[in-house]
C-alpha cells in the first residue's frame, strides 16, 4: 500500500447523514485537520457490526491515525474495540455520560433551554412542538421533553398537523410551532401562507435546527443554531491532540442559540 499521509477517520451511520447539525459538524471537522496537514476520511455504514469491521480494517491497513465517534452509548462496544486495537479516538458525547477519554460533550436539554428562554421573552401563548420522530442523539435533542410549557405532538404528517394547529390560532390567540427539520419548516411556512394564516402574527414558526435552508427560505425562518460548526471544529482539534498524545480531557459544546428571523 502506498502511504498518502495520515488521516482522521469518521464512520457515519445511515440515518445521521442528512441531519443538518450532523452535516455541519462533519463539514467543520475537516478545517483544523487540513490546517494541521492531516486528511479526513469518512465511511458510511448501515450497522454497528460494519462500523466495528471498519475500525479493524483501518488498524490493519494503516493510514488512519485516529478516529472520531459521533455519539457514544454506555457501554459502547466501539470504545472497547478502539482501546483493544490501540486506535486513538475522541467522541461527541452526551453531557450525562461519564467520559474517561477525550470528548466534546453536548447537553441534551440545552437547545430546549434556549427555546424556552426565547419563548419567555418573545412569545405569549401556546407553543407546540410538532414532530414525526425523535431525532437521534447526540446533538442535544431532548426537545422540550422536560418543559411543561411546550406541548409535544407526534404526527406522521408534520405539515398537515401544523396547518391544522395554525388554523386554530389568531392574532389575539397566537401559537408558536416548532418543527424538527428545515425542509419541513419550509413546507409548513408555504402551507400556512397558502391557507392565509398570518406568519408571524398568528403563527410563529421556529425550526429546531438552523441550516442554509432556513436562512434562504422565501421568508427566512427563525431557528435554533445548534452550533454544529463549533462542535466540529472542537472535535477536529481534539482529534489532533489525541493522536499527538496531548492532554485534551473533555470540553462542553457551546450553548445553542435561537437565531431570530422573519417567522417570529
Amino acid at each position: 500500500m502506498t502511504d498518502a499521509g495520515e488521516s482522521i477517520g469518521l464512520v457515519i451511520r445511515h440515518g445521521r447523514d442528512g441531519d443538518p447539525v450532523a452535516d455541519a459538524v462533519v463539514r467543520a471537522i475537516a478545517g483544523p485537520l487540513l490546517a494541521a496537514g492531516l486528511r479526513f476520511v469518512t465511511r458510511s455504514v448501515t450497522d454497528e457490526e460494519t462500523e466495528l469491521r471498519t475500525y479493524r480494517l483501518w488498524a490493519r491497513v494503516g493510514g488512519i491515525a485516529g478516529v472520531i465517534l459521533l455519539g457514544v452509548a454506555e457501554p459502547d462496544a466501539r470504545i472497547r474495540l478502539l482501546r483493544q486495537i490501540d486506535m486513538p479516538f475522541v467522541a461527541l458525547a452526551p453531557a450525562s455520560t461519564a467520559v474517561d477519554y477525550p470528548a466534546v460533550t453536548v447537553n441534551a436539554t440545552a437547545a430546549s433551554t434556549a427555546l424556552a428562554g426565547f419563548l419567555d421573552t418573545h412569545h405569549s401563548g401556546r407553543c407546540v412542538y410538532v414532530t414525526s420522530q425523535r431525532v437521534p442523539e447526540p446533538f442535544g435533542t431532548d426537545a422540550a421533553a422536560d418543559d411543561p410549557a411546550i406541548e409535544i405532538v407526534h404526527a406522521d404528517d408534520v405539515v398537515d398537523e401544523s396547518v391544522r394547529l395554525g388554523a386554530q390560532a389568531s392574532e389575539a390567540a397566537p401559537i408558536a410551532l416548532v418543527v424538527d427539520s428545515d425542509h419541513d419548516a419550509v413546507a409548513v411556512l408555504g402551507a400556512l401562507e397558502a391557507q392565509g394564516i398570518r406568519v408571524p402574527e398568528a403563527v410563529a414558526l421556529i425550526c429546531w435546527s438552523d441550516s442554509l435552508v432556513c436562512q434562504s427560505a422565501s421568508r427566512p425562518i427563525t431557528a435554533i443554531d445548534r452550533r454544529g460548526r463549533e462542535i466540529g471544529t472542537e472535535l477536529g482539534l481534539a482529534a489532533i491532540a489525541a493522536i499527538h498524545d496531548e492532554s485534551f480531557g473533555s470540553v462542553a459544546a457551546p450553548a445553542p442559540v435561537v437565531v431570530i428571523r422573519e417567522t417570529t
Binding site: 500500500m1 502506498t2 502511504d3 498518502a4 499521509g5 488521516s7 477517520g9 447523514d17 452535516d23 463539514r27 475537516a30 485537520l33 487540513l34 496537514g37 486528511r39 479526513f40 476520511v41 469518512t42 465511511r43 458510511s44 471498519t54 480494517l57 483501518w58 491497513v61 493510514g63 488512519i64 442554509l212 435552508v213 436562512q215 434562504s216 422565501s218 427566512p220
Partner: protein, 410 residues
C-alpha cells in the same frame, strides 16, 4: 403512460439504455423493459442475462401473479460497481466514492491544489486515491472510473494558459497523467457541470425539468441541464458565466473584456474590497496573502452570515452582481430553476439566494407565466465531487446518456 423508447437491437448503446432503464425504474420486470424499450422479449432476455453475469443487475424476487407465470423482479446491483468523484479545488480536494445508485460510500478531504503544480498534485492524487479505496475496502477492479471536476475551460494539453482561477490545470492533460498511475479511466468536466449532473442523477430534479447550477469556488461556472443531459457547446465549454459582462465600464478583466462578473463578485473581489478597510481586515484576521484569499473570503462570508454589517454589505454587493447575471441567464434560457452550489456558497449562500430570488421575481420576463425556483444545493461542498462520480458512472455504464449532451456546434 410513457410511450416505448424505440431502440434498434443492433445499436451499440442498447445495453447501456437497458441498464439505464433498470436504474431509473427502481424495480422492473423483463416484460416491462421490453415494453419501454420496444425491443423483443428475446433481446431483453439476452441483454439482462449479460447484465446479471457482469454483476450490474440482480434478481430480487418475483412479481405478484396475474394468473400466469410470475415474472422475476430486476434491480440495479448497487454494490456491484463503484465510482470515484474528485473535486479539484484550491481550498481542498474532495474525493467521493459512490455505489451504482450514486449513494455515497465514503469521502476523503485533503489539502487543495493551490500549493503545488499539477505534476506534483497528480502524484499525490494517485496515492490518496489508492489509499482511500483500501480504507473503504473497495477492490480496484470494481471501480468503473474516476470523474474529475475542476474549474476553468477545457483547453486541451499544451494550450495557452489564461485563467487566474484555474491556472495551470486548464491546459494540463489530466487524463493522460492520472490514468496510468491509478489504472482506471479518468473523465473530466468543469465543476459546475458536474454539480448539475449530480443534482440530476441523485434524483433531486426530474429529467423533464431543465435547470442551471451556478457554481462558485474561486470563480463562477454555470452547469446547464437540458432534457436530462449536460449542455456542452461547441468545445465542451458551456457555462463561462464568470465572464458575463455586468458593468461595461467596470474593471478590466484578465480575459481582455471589462466588467466581467468574476472581477466584480468572485471571492477575490470581495476580499479585495474588505482589505480596503484595515479595521475590518484586522478584526476578521484576514491574511492579506493573495494565496489565502479563499480562507479570507470564508471569514468574510461567515461574519456576514452572522449579521456583521460591513461583511453583509460586501456579500450583498457581490450578490447583486451575481443576481444580475443570473437574471440574464433566466431571461435568455427561460429557466424555472436555479441551484446554487460550491464552496463559495457554503457560508453566506442564503444572502445570494435571497438577492437572486428577489431580482428574478421582480424582473424576469416570464414572471407572470411561471415562478423561478432559486435554491441551494445540499450539501454545497460535495456537489461537484458527487457529480463527478456520476460522470464516471455515466461514461462507463450508460455512455448513451453521457454522449447525449446538447451541443452548440453546428
Amino acid at each position: 403512460m410513457t410511450p416505448p423508447r424505440r431502440i434498434g437491437p443492433s445499436s451499440a448503446n442498447t445495453r447501456s439504455v437497458v441498464l439505464d432503464m433498470v436504474r431509473s425504474g427502481g424495480t422492473v420486470t423483463r416484460t416491462e423493459l421490453a415494453g419501454r424499450s420496444g425491443l423483443t422479449p428475446t433481446s431483453i432476455a439476452r441483454i439482462v442475462k449479460s447484465l446479471i453475469e457482469d454483476g450490474l443487475v440482480v434478481e430480487t424476487g418475483f412479481s405478484e401473479s396475474t394468473g400466469g407465470k410470475r415474472s422475476s423482479l430486476l434491480e440495479l446491483n448497487t454494490a456491484g460497481r463503484f465510482a470515484v468523484g474528485l473535486s479539484l479545488d484550491a481550498g481542498r480536494l474532495t474525493y467521493v466514492v459512490t455505489d451504482l445508485a450514486g449513494s455515497v460510500i465514503g469521502r476523503l478531504v485533503s489539502p487543495g491544489i493551490e500549493q503545488a503544480g499539477p505534476g506534483e498534485d497528480v502524484v499525490r492524487i494517485a496515492r490518496e486515491l489508492g489509499q482511500l479505496l483500501v480504507q473503504l475496502d473497495i477492490p480496484l477492479e470494481s471501480v468503473v472510473g474516476v470523474g474529475v471536476a475542476g474549474a476553468g475551460l477545457d483547453l486541451g494539453a499544451g494550450a495557452e494558459r489564461l485563467s487566474l482561477t484555474a491556472t495551470e490545470w486548464e491546459s494540463f492533460a489530466l487524463n493522460k497523467a492520472l490514468e496510468p498511475r491509478i489504472g482506471l479511466p479518468v473523465v473530466r468536466d468543469n465543476d459546475a457541470a458536474c454539480a448539475a449532473l449530480g443534482q440530476y442523477w441523485a434524483g433531486r430534479i426530474s429529467a423533464t425539468q431543465d435547470f442551471a447550477t451556478l457554481y462558485m469556488s474561486n470563480g463562477f461556472g454555470l452547469g446547464l441541464m437540458v432534457g436530462g443531459s449536460i449542455a456542452r457547446g461547441a468545445s465542451s465549454n458551456v457555462g463561462e458565466i464568470g465572464h458575463l459582462i455586468v458593468d461595461v465600464d467596470g474593471p478590466e478583466c484578465w480575459c481582455g473584456a471589462r466588467g466581467c462578473l468574476e472581477m466584480l463578485a468572485a471571492p477575490r473581489a470581495v476580499v479585495a474590497a474588505a482589505l480596503e478597510d484595515d479595521e475590518l481586515a484586522d478584526r476578521l484576521g484576514l491574511s492579506r496573502d493573495p494565496h489565502r484569499f479563499r480562507a479570507d473570503f470564508e471569514a468574510i462570508a461567515r461574519a456576514a452570515a452572522g449579521g456583521e454589517a460591513r461583511c453583509c454589505a460586501l456579500i450583498q454587493r457581490s450578490a447583486r452582481y451575481v443576481a444580475a447575471a443570473v437574471l440574464s441567464i433566466v431571461n435568455v434560457l427561460d429557466l424555472d430553476r436555479i441551484v446554487l452550489a460550491g464552496p463559495g456558497f457554503a457560508d453566506a449562500g442564503a444572502i445570494y439566494v435571497r438577492e437572486i430570488r428577489d431580482q428574478v421575481t421582480r424582473f424576469a420576463r416570464t414572471r407572470t407565466i411561471h415562478p423561478v425556483i432559486v435554491e441551494l444545493a445540499d450539501p454545497g461542498l460535495d456537489a461537484a465531487a458527487g457529480g463527478a462520480a456520476t460522470l464516471a458512472l455515466q461514461h462507463a455504464l450508460t455512455p448513451h446518456a453521457a454522449a447525449a449532451g446538447w451541443s452548440g456546434s453546428s
